[in-house]
């Protein structure tokens, strides 16, 4: 199987790097070095530990970045990373407040399994993360009902034997090697609490996993995937090992893995891929361990590579920090340039757009936050708004079917495949459809998406239309306006509800607040202006200007009047540039940028 020439990264294209560490990359680097027993790969273990522990929120959970809400994904990666560092004697890594973390985990328990955030529907990703956090870090949780969790896990099996993201996805027959890994490893974590037989027809599950091995030796995510990759190979081989089995052709698998190495000797994702990223080595070493193959021959090269991926402020990114571009920063830099008056014909903009097109890779049709990481709905929207498909409209034919497959059985969309639904992702999907049109078929079921948005509605005064980001979530300005913006795109506009929401969160001094009407912030003010203009509701530009003036500081744009700006946060700069342009230019229209 060859990678389509449309999907081969253009080495001359240059994206924009924040130069900063990333949570998943940091976890992958630490775990790989722990597997190899190579603490010499920790360039500054104390700083890396501080980077991880600084994600902790007051509720005991951890967030992808400071100031964001806690989720299961970040809580698992932070606590596991800190635990690994502590094993190597890095003092800063001591976990604090485990009891509070346990209480936060309990808020994500649905009654049957774990959700990524409180209020969301449970999925295999979150259930894996939080079962392991509960069992391995928090020493169990009294809230978790093992019998009900095993029953929920049993429902993941599809008619053809594989496991899906949720029982509802299983009913649609959507098995995936990643879901197999998450389901099987959640069960294995539970076996630490007692003898629990695997809750599936193991013979058929093993057969489905084995059937994903390709003639080359590597595994694919599912029969629909285009090429075998290191990520799918890791998930499949570890799941098979946990089930007491292995690939039908283990030697071919080892040969395939060990053949995929770049110039430095570290690993690459698939044949012909030019970057030895952190995840390829993580997956390769993890797979070799599952296959009982030696890892020692690769330890020096992988450790040296990890050291090159370390960031100055602690933590790791996916490749050399100055080259580690991402889709959000790159899109933001393009949109900032445009807001500041740089023409779209500028070569710097075109080379960034070509880099964004390089984030469309095999196996998943959307734009990836970082190349080879997995497609993400918000990143796809930002890239499209930044003109990623200008001059390459045929690539829309990849995004549309991916988006269609992303719609969950509850009608909503999550950040990525199989992840629980929320309003942020759902409005992003609706905006992607607006941009792409229906030239490649309709990528979403309108009635089903409206059903999900209605499920996020919360009772408000005078029957106001208010929504939380997830069903049962606290109503906020952003979730409410995002839901109303999506409803407008779906043909059910409600400008009176938009106007009432704007009034409720209008900060007299300037800008809009996400909750109440005292503390304005950049994202809420941007959302207010965007949704108001979409509904032809006039706003006082002087009121927005006063807010912009307050968050415009010597070194850049701050997210709130209280936060410092250092000029390195390209997303804040972009949102600020666009808002300032809107204030000063009657003709300026805001792109639909949605992040939280």
């Amino acid at each position: 199987m060859m990678v389509s020439k449309d999907l081969v990264a253009d080495p001359s294209a240059i994206g924009t790097s924040s130069g900063r560490p990333d949570l998943w990359c940091t976890y992958a680097a630490i775990r790989t070095l722990a597997w190899l027993n190579r603490p010499d790969g920790f360039v500054d273990g104390e700083r890396t530990a501080r980077y991880l522990s600084s994600r902790r929120n007051g509720d005991g959970g951890y967030a992808w970045s400071r100031g964001m809400a806690s989720d299961a994904w970040a809580t698992y990666y932070c606590t596991q990373g800190l635990t690994d560092l502590l094993r190597f004697g890095i003092a800063e890594a001591a976990l604090g407040g485990v009891a509070q973390t346990t209480r936060w985990l309990d808020t994500t328990w649905s009654g049957d399994a774990f959700a990524m955030m409180p209020g969301q529907a449970p999925d295999a990703w979150a259930t894996f993360f939080s079962t392991r956090t509960a069992v391995e870090i928090c020493s169990g949780s009294e809230t978790v009902d093992t019998e009900r969790l095993l029953k929920w896990l049993s429902g993941l099996q599809t008619a053809d034997g594989g496991l899906a993201w949720t029982p509802e996805h299983a009913a649609r027959g959507e098995a995936d090697a990643r879901a197999c890994f998450y389901g099987v490893l959640a069960w294995r974590a539970l076996t630490r609490t007692g003898a629990h037989p695997a809750p599936w027809d193991v013979e058929r599950l093993v057969a489905w996993l084995r059937a994903q091995q390709t003639p080359e030796g590597g595994f694919r995510f599912s029969p629909d995937a285009e090429v075998p990759c290191m990520w799918a190979t890791y998930r499949a081989t570890v799941a098979l090992d946990a089930l007491g089995s292995g690939p039908a052709a283990p030697r071919a698998c080892v040969s395939w893995i060990t053949s995929l190495r770049g110039e430095t000797g570290a690993f690459v994702r698939w044949e012909g891929y030019p970057v030895e990223d952190v995840w390829a080595s993580f997956c390769a070493i993890g797979s070799l361990r599952a296959l009982r193959a030696p890892t020692e021959p690769y330890a020096d090269a992988v450790t040296a590579r990890m050291r090159r991926l370390a960031c100055a402020e602690g933590g790791y990114t996916y490749r050399e920090p100055d080259l580690a571009a991402d889709a959000l920063s790159t899109s933001a830099s393009i949109l900032s340039h445009q807001a500041l008056g740089v023409t779209t014909a500028d070569p710097a903009i075109e080379t960034r757009r070509r880099w964004l097109r390089g984030c469309l890779l095999p196996n998943e049709g959307g734009v990836m936050y970082m190349p080879a990481r997995g497609s993400e709905v918000r990143c796809t929207l930002w890239a499209l708004e930044a003109g990623a498909l200008d001059g390459a409209a045929h690539l829309a034919g990849r995004i549309t079917p991916w988006l269609r497959g992303l719609q969950n059985p509850d009608g909503g969309f999550g950040y990525w495949e199989g992840r629980g639904s929320d309003v942020v992702s759902s409005v992003s999907a609706a905006e992607i459809r607006r941009i792409l049109g229906d030239g490649h078929g309709d990528p979403l079921d309108t009635a089903e998406l409206l059903r999900f948005l209605d499920s996020c509605r919360t009772p408000g005064p005078d029957e106001d239309w208010q929504a939380g980001n997830v069903p049962g979530g606290e109503p906020t300005l952003r979730a409410t306006l995002q839901a109303l913006r999506a409803r407008q795109l779906l043909g059910t506009p409600d400008p009176r509800a938009v106007a009432r929401t704007l009034t409720r969160h209008h900060v007299p001094g300037g800008g809009y607040a996400n909750t109440g009407n005292r503390i304005p912030d950049l994202l809420s003010t941007y959302e207010a202006v965007l949704t108001a203009t979409r509904h032809s509701i006039p706003l006082d530009r002087e009121h927005i200007r006063r807010f912009c003036d307050r968050v415009t500081q010597e070194h850049g744009t701050a997210w709130t009047p209280l936060a410092p700006a250092d000029g390195r946060d390209l997303l804040a700069e972009c949102v600020g540039d666009l808002l300032r342009q809107w204030v000063s230019d009657d003709a300026a229209a805001l792109p639909a940028l949605t992040i939280s």
């Binding site: 800008g511 503390i519 709130t560």
Partner: protein, 103 residues
């Protein structure tokens, strides 16, 4: 009652301020010099979330209201002396407004 008699002096405001901020910031705030930069003195503990808690504590302790747009909150809440000065000025303004409305 004269206006000046109901407004605490800066020393009293500072004492009450340290007591109020010890709830969100801990006892460490007692040893922070008046003009010391709180971020430098307290490190990562004094981030924007902690500053928000301090603003709430000041509003509750002194009965004043902070305007997040009109007031330069990042500058004011960077040292104890600036907070003290802000509180004293706001109390004087409030007292003057009350006196004007009583007249």
């Amino acid at each position: 009652m004269s206006t000046s008699s109901v407004i605490p002096d800066s020393a009293e405001i500072l004492t009450r301020l340290r007591a109020a901020l010890s709830v969100p910031l801990g006892d460490a705030v007692q040893g922070v010099a008046e003009d010391a930069d709180l971020t430098e003195a307290l490190g990562e503990r004094y981030d924007s979330l902690a500053a928000m808690e301090c603003i709430t504590a000041v509003e509750t302790q002194f009965g004043v209201e902070v305007d997040f747009v009109a007031d330069d909150v990042r500058h004011i809440f960077s040292t104890l002396s600036r907070i003290t000065e802000f509180v004293q000025g706001r109390l004087e303004d409030d007292a003057a407004l009350r006196a004007a409305s009583d007249a």
